[in-house]
Symmetry: C2
């Protein structure tokens, strides 16, 4: 592409972006900062993140690893090389982002002081031209120094910068303090001085800067950041990586650089990179209404969800590339399912939901959130899974930290900002997307409306939604009816329920049946609302048996249990120290029981089913009926090492004997 065409493109984008500010997207999320979570499920987790996870992140970042040290070395010009990996700066920024959300939820002067201290250090480490990256500034294992900056697209300078901007935006929104945001703005302007239409090509090696630039556009109102985000998307898929080392951009599939984004039809390569890209694409499309982006994202989404997603909402079946292999290749014990990829699924599906108003995106978001992502963090708040397997021989355990420590701060920032995903609004409607006991206020065209949600979800399917307009007013309340209520285990035909759904939902207003229509998975209640109105939704919390399409070879003849949005698993600790010995016939009755004392209070699934066991002398294998208990997947490995299995044989075809 020559400069002339770039210029045209630039003009075109300016127009769209300016239009976009007026047109706005169809649906806007209600920010977490406007939502108070009051329930017994998420509120304790948010508090745990504030009280435990964030202090752990701070300690690891500053004391136990040299991540803050690298910034101090830049300031003090000690001449020392950077320690750690070239993307370690991003962990500092992601921790700050999580802190920002947490401070908004629950002010904490000590942590805020610490954050301010870090921000001073970061700001002091920024170079006069706006560049900030300790690895290149100090030199590290794979870069000798500043003279090599911006020569290798795989070295995460853009990725780190993106997280800086996200943190700056979050901290500004949470505290009103602009210092970190200004660092991010200077970095963005530095980047824009080198790259962009008419300047040098750049394909982000690990996407992230795109979505960050859209956030920067939103907080500053500066369309140039939106344009730069769009330009970054347009850079992909043209072979511009050649000449940018990483042995000349050796695997374009790994980094979603095979075809232009608008022509993408399938997901390839590294799962987290892909999620951040698609989130950025949806963010840009929400501003520009670019139908080609939206169509491409709808197509790619089907490829992800219909052929490459685990029943937990996790993605990425291969550890080799931290990402995708073949369609339907979904091994359980070797699942990669990086926590960050499930977090990315939440980000992307929220954007798709807002772009389209179709509840299927929120169905997947809910699945990834309650299962694949939630599993990443221990109940204690201080242990993390990087990958989230669906079967374990007991050798998988959450860890205190990682060399590549993307996951801890990522799950922390997701949970701290959970309020972002519950409500949304459009011109004439309030959208209730997730069932979380919470309160918020929505400014509708004609009145302000207080919304209060009361529910013990996901343990119980009863949801009360109090709709309290200041003035009597006509508008819609759109309540998401989860796909699983209608017997859909997941969008697409990869997973389905063995059982029929016998119960239906019940939806009343003020105790009376009410007229509503179902539009794209939402119950749309359109009426004149008045003070004290109360919607009562009852979701049937049956225990569902999920089976997989036979194309998923790994799960042939197996069944998984689901209740509400939660996937269940069998863990050894509840089942005679074994979980891989169970045969769960289709005729076994399963009872759901609330156990307040177990794992901070969960609903367990209980049954009499067959287990295969080996006699003490190792010479006899037999089957007997035993009481078995399944627990929510996200709660496993909170009581020590143990076997675990999500997909259990419905019947056995063969046994393999192990004698080690």
């Amino acid at each position: 592409m020559n400069n002339h065409i770039y210029l045209l493109l630039f003009c075109h984008l300016s127009i769209i972006a300016v239009q976009a500010q007026e047109e706005v997207q169809k649906i806007e999320p209600i920010s977490f900062s406007q939502v108070t979570i009051t329930d017994n499920f998420w509120k304790p987790r948010i508090e745990k993140v504030a009280e435990v996870t964030i202090p752990v992140c701070i300690e690891q970042t500053e004391i136990k690893t040299p991540r803050i040290d690298n910034f101090l070395k830049v300031i003090n010009k000690t001449g020392e090389k950077a320690e750690g990996r070239f993307y370690d700066d991003s962990d500092v920024f992601k921790a700050l982002e999580a802190i920002a959300y947490s401070l908004k939820n629950k002010p904490n002067p000590i942590i805020e002081k610490k954050a301010d201290e870090w921000i001073d250090i970061i700001a002091a480490a920024q170079l006069p031209d706006g560049y900030i990256n300790t690895y290149y500034t100090l030199g590290g294992l794979e870069a000798s120094g500043l003279e090599e900056r911006w020569t290798d697209m795989s070295m995460h300078e853009d990725y780190n910068g993106g997280h800086l901007i996200e943190a700056g935006v979050a901290y500004y929104n949470a505290t009103g303090k602009k210092k970190l945001l200004d660092v991010g703005i200077r970095f963005a302007d530095h980047f824009a001085s080198i790259f962009g239409p008419g300047k040098r090509h750049w394909v982000t090696g690990h996407e992230e800067l795109e979505l960050a630039l859209v956030k920067l556009f939103r907080v500053t109102g500066e369309t140039k950041y939106l344009q730069l985000a769009d330009w970054l998307l347009l850079e992909r898929g043209h072979g511009y990586g050649v000449g940018y080392t990483w042995a000349d951009w050796k695997d374009t599939a790994y980094t979603q650089d095979v075809v232009p984004v608008k022509q993408a039809t399938e997901i390839t390569g590294h799962a987290v990179r892909a999620m951040y890209l698609y989130t950025g694409v949806a963010d840009v499309a929400a501003q520009t209404n670019d139908i080609e982006y939206i169509d491409a994202m709808k197509t790619v989404w089907e490829d992800v969800v219909y052929r490459n997603m685990y029943i937990t909402g996790g993605i990425g079946s291969s550890g080799d590339n931290e990402g995708f292999s073949e369609d339907y290749d979904l091994p359980n014990a070797e699942a990669y399912c990086e926590t960050c990829a499930s977090v990315g699924m939440v980000f992307w599906n929220q954007r798709m939901s807002l772009l389209t108003g179709d509840s299927k995106y929120m169905d997947v978001l809910e699945k990834s959130l309650y299962n694949g992502a939630a599993d990443g963090l221990s109940l204690s708040g201080d242990r993390f899974f990087y990958g989230n397997v669906l079967e374990s021989d007991g050798s998988d355990n959450r860890r205190e930290w990682f060399g590549t420590a993307c996951c801890p701060s990522n799950i922390a920032r997701l949970i701290s900002s959970l309020g972002d995903y519950i409500y949304a609004q459009s011109q004439d409607a309030i959208w209730v997307n997730l069932f979380v006991g919470s309160e918020t206020n929505v400014n509708m065209t004609k009145t302000k409306v207080a919304i209060t949600q009361l529910t013990d979800y996901p343990w119980n399917g009863d949801v009360k939604i109090l709709v309290d307009p200041v003035r009597k007013s006509e508008f819609e309340v759109r309540v998401r009816i989860p796909g699983w209520v209608d017997g859909q285990a997941s969008p697409g035909d990869t997973y389905y329920f063995l059982n029929e759904m016998k119960s239906k939902i019940s939806l009343t207003v003020n105790g009376k049946d009410t007229k509503y229509e179902i539009l794209e998975g939402y119950a749309v209640i359109s009426r004149e609302w008045k003070r004290g109105d109360q919607i009562e939704l009852k979701l049937p919390m049956t225990v569902n048996r999920v089976v997989a399409n036979e194309k998923v070879k790994e799960n042939l003849g197996r069944v998984a249990l689901q209740r509400g949005p939660l996937m269940y698993c069998f863990e050894g600790v509840d089942n005679g120290d074994q979980a891989l010995h169970i045969i769960l016939g289709d005729d076994v009755e399963i009872e759901a029981t609330k156990e307040e004392e177990l794992l901070e209070g969960i609903v367990t699934l209980n049954m009499e089913a067959a287990v295969v066991s080996v006699s003490d002398d190792g010479k006899k294998v037999s089957t007997e009926s035993r009481h078995l208990k399944a627990i929510p997947y996200y709660t496993w490995n909170n009581r020590g090492s143990s076997e675990m299995q999500v997909w259990v044989p419905r019947k056995v075809t063969k046994v393999r004997l192990t004698s080690r």
Copy 2:
């Protein structure tokens, strides 16, 4: 190394080689051409090779594949490219070698006519300068034509030439016809005109030419061929591969080119290449008495046998490199154990046995011959295993032929020349190495001695050896006492017997106890022998339980059954269609039974033991005692597809359920 030193080396070698002719090696084998095999075990197999396997090789080589066609294209100058792989010429030569041995065993004018016809074609395809290789002469996929000959050491020009020479020597010995031998001589002289001391470097990419040149030296008496063989050995391990493509000799371990041969301490890379190299080294050492070669071979042999050999005598655990991985990494279901590598073990161990007189080499030869190699050929003579697994889910089957068809003619030439491995002689001793019903004549210093062996080995341990000297004479008869008689499952400590050996051997001469001493595993009977003397050896044919050193992770908690030299396996067809469901407790009694009707007459092992089975509805796994039968490993897969297992659990620690 400069030319000056080469010249010195050349002189030095000449002297050694001339000496060698007088000194001779300690022990000389009795050629198969002097041995008539009369037993019920090998004689039928040799006949089957003559009647079935060799015709199959002829048909495949000439009719079903274009191997002979390639030679015709050279002669007829059709301008067509070579078809097939660059090593396909070698299959023609190996088939001719097998034919030669077979004609010696049992004349067959039709087959001899066919061989003569082929030899005429081969001779006509030799270029005037002695070069012969259809792939380079015609051009093929990886070589455009003659101008590229001798530029890539990985392209098997030397390997093909080595097999040409072996075939020429064998056909000359079998028929007295010299035409093919002359082709081989011209090729050798062509090679020597380009390579050798003071000329160009050459590292054989697939070793073979070395051992062939020693054979050529022996048949012609020309020391230059021995010297050239030695030179080829000395070329290895100096980095001479650089510049000889194969992407610059990328994996020196693969082709045993990491260190000079005399400094080798461990086996690496491709198993067949290694075996042919070591055979050539031992051949050269037998002529030159080079102690450095001998010491290196003893050390490498320990690495092979102590840490890298399967209980079947097979080697090569990895299909990736057709060879070696880590010490003690011996997976059963994924075993590579190429038939050719077991054939190579027979070649090499024979040479080591002759060099040292130590029976441990013959113990390993016997193990590889009766198990790893014999398994390569179906009882019908027309189906072949390329790899020989020790565990199968029923998906492994012998095949009619292969794209890379080294194994069929290799097993054919081994079995046809089996007589080579039974007897040997030294100054004052006749060596009985294998127990095979057979007759031979040995020229001792003072008399000629007829030896007749009568035995039903390996089914029965009774061996009668008739020693019939023309004149009463004093000499030794050295009868190998197999290591397994003393409870040694294999040399080294990788495998051992669980059980004690309760019975001892009995050895009498003319029905009376006789004085003998055991020297390096041989019972040495030194006396004045006279007409009609008869040695009677009784080997205790107990059923032995073999277990593996715990370093062999794959076999932890498992047991294998051995009787005499034969390893046993369980095959599904004898055991309710399953073989992977057996628990063989240490207390299970095992009875050996001769079954004349089964698999051409074998001894089976029968027992009542536990099997684990799954109920029809797939919901119950149980153990019951059943009658089980094990068969000799080499006889499996002769009755259709079936599960098979050599290493069976002694007790079970865990069960893995399969539901596909």
